[in-house]
């Protein structure tokens, strides 16, 4: 396996280059676009030589786009804020509800626990619209339509099963002996959970939280169905922005870059956790 013929080494090199080009090029190109004015974007043939400008980002962050024809308001920063609020809120709620439940499922095999855990997991795989469409009618009746609270609740559909299953796996991997010893030494259940179990499962909780955040951030369909313009996250907002701004391609590109930057940065920062989380613990990386 270790000795490769020169031809094989070449072929591998070429194949890897093609792979990297295919997967990296779109991100690279959108970043380039976001640094150009509309005039340089529309040049033909396209060229990588241009004078970079931060005008698109300035317009989005300031919320105003002044052109020689007219001036237009951009509400994209609101979308960004909504994304942060919804994702952080959903993960916080999911951790609060999910971690104790995961601990219960891992430590106490109570009657029906397996069935319940399975049912929760199967939520992850049901078509989201099946729940969302009736919910959109209910939400209007009970006043949860277009509220952060209602959205964060629905986001539990993706966050909670994820946290439950990943964290449960971590708790199961930790031997309960340490907890028993601590209990026998006279500590309460709560302090055992807080001082022993939680810190030991820390990496798993971090991985699950991170992954839940990314899934919540990237979600599109929940807010598309349940939120109006003022509560929409970036995924839905960007689509509306494309329709509204029409030909402001530079700003669209800048908006996309701002929307994907947080998850990409998180992914690169914590990639080790991600791999384990993504496989739901099926593969120990």
């Amino acid at each position: 396996m270790d000795h490769m013929s020169p031809i094989e080494r070449w072929l591998r090199g070429i194949a890897l280059t093609v792979v990297v080009l295919f997967f990296m090029f779109p991100i690279f190109w959108i970043v380039l676009m976001s640094l150009q004015t509309n005039e340089t974007i529309l040049r033909s043939p396209p060229s990588m030589v241009f004078e970079p400008t931060f005008g698109n980002y300035v317009a989005i962050i300031a919320g105003r786009l002044d052109s020689n024809v007219a001036s237009m308001g951009i509400a994209f920063m609101d979308n960004l804020w909504n994304s942060i609020l919804l994702s952080v809120g959903s993960v916080a709620v999911a951790l609060l509800l999910g971690v104790p439940a995961a601990y219960a499922f891992a430590r106490h095999k109570f009657r029906g626990s397996e069935e319940v855990a399975f049912t929760l997991l199967s939520f992850r795989f049901a078509p989201p619209l099946l729940v969302l469409l009736p919910l959109s009618l209910y939400f209007q009746q009970i006043g949860l339509a277009n509220t952060y609270l209602g959205l964060i609740w629905v986001y539990q559909l993706i966050c909670l099963p994820l946290i439950l299953w990943i964290v449960r796996g971590y708790f199961e991997d930790i031997s309960p002996d340490l907890e028993h010893a601590y209990r026998i030494a006279g500590h309460s259940w709560l302090s055992t959970f807080r001082r022993i179990a939680l810190p030991l499962a820390g990496p798993g909780i971090a991985a699950a939280g991170l992954l839940a955040f990314i899934f919540a951030w990237n979600n599109f369909i929940f807010a598309l169905v349940l939120a109006s313009a003022d509560k929409q996250p970036v995924t839905v907002g960007a689509l509306a922005f494309v329709t509204a701004s029409g030909i402001q391609y530079g700003q669209i590109a800048a908006a996309i870059v701002l929307s994907i930057a947080p998850t990409l940065a998180l992914a690169l920062y914590a990639q080790r956790y991600l791999v384990e989380g993504l496989s739901l613990g099926a593969v120990k990386g």
Partner: protein
């Protein structure tokens, strides 16, 4: 709560609170999920009704009529066909590509690790935003891919806006986003395989090509199965990429289940038909997810046994 105050209570009450504890701990999570079950049953109920938001006076039970109508409804068969084509095309191609890339990156060198981290980036991009990125790149006026296509002799390559190439375009975006997922899973699988069989095969002079078919592939099979089932489950429900790219168009070229159901509900306000469509999709995913969960648990047990 019960947990905080049970240090000094007598043994018997301690035992009771111990038995209640797991229920108390999992109750909040369960309540949130049970509340979500209500709309699910509502959807079942809707699917058995003649129910249009625009004609509330006409609402009533029609039992299986929505489902029966599907049998003679060409739109339904188109939806089923497009969804299945999309799912099998994306998963098949992603599996081939993901396996190929995982094999290329198998050795733990610094470069390989760096590349596998970089390849996480498309996977972390929101699929809806990924579709918008590709939409910009395939714009007929300035899109770089339209330019490349023209250079290659396809000046009129219309990508997502032509019925001939729309499926190709969204499949391409799906491949861009999700191939890294399969790659990561298979790479972790490859790297966790025991080395002895390979060493023995090398000693016996088994050609590398045969090693792949006879040793690597069979040993990797559980991982391949888990990864493809997982992707199949997601892919047959794909909404984000297709909706953001073409909203199911042009015409009905890309009317997959969830897009069709969404448009039925919000545009033609035919709630009954929309719910029935989603129920059929649910039955498909339910079967797939049961197979998947069984496979995945078996794999998890194995991974745990080897640690």
């Amino acid at each position: 709560m019960a947990a905080a105050s049970d240090i000094s209570i007598p043994r018997r009450r301690f035992a009771v609170s111990r038995r209640l504890l797991p229920y108390l701990l999992s109750l909040p999570a369960l309540l949130v999920c049970i509340a979500i079950l209500i709309p699910f049953f509502t959807a079942v109920y809707y699917s058995l009704q003649r129910f249009r938001l625009s004609q509330p006076w006409n609402r009533g039970m029609n039992w299986g009529e929505n489902y029966l109508n599907f049998l003679t409804d060409p739109d339904f068969w188109n939806t089923l066909q497009v969804s299945l084509t999309y799912a099998f095309l994306t998963v098949g191609l992603e599996l081939l590509l993901g396996l190929g890339i995982a094999l290329l990156l198998k050795k733990r060198t610094r470069l390989n690790n760096f590349i596998s981290i970089m390849l996480l980036m498309p996977l972390m991009t929101a699929p809806a935003l990924a579709a918008l990125m590709w939409k910009l790149m395939t714009n007929p006026n300035f899109g770089i891919l339209s330019y490349f296509a023209a250079q290659l002799g396809f000046p009129d390559f219309r990508w997502g806006s032509s019925p001939d190439t729309a499926l190709f375009t969204v499949v391409l975006v799906d491949i861009w986003v999700y191939t890294p997922f399969i790659m990561i899973l298979l790479l972790a699988g490859l790297r966790s395989l025991p080395t002895q069989p390979f060493e023995a095969a090398a000693l016996d002079g088994v050609p590398r090509f045969q090693q792949f078919w006879r040793i690597t592939l069979p040993m990797l099979m559980p991982y391949i199965l888990t990864a493809s089932l997982f992707r199949l489950l997601d892919s047959i429900q794909q909404f984000d990429i297709i909706y953001a790219m073409t909203q199911g168009g042009p015409g009905d070229t890309l009317m997959v289940f969830q897009v069709e159901a969404y448009l039925n509900f919000f545009q033609s306000t035919n709630v009954g038909r929309s719910a029935a469509l989603l129920m059929i999709l649910w039955v498909i995913t339910y079967f797939l997810s049961n197979i998947f969960i069984k496979n995945w648990l078996r794999l998890r047990e194995r991974a745990r046994g080897e640690v």
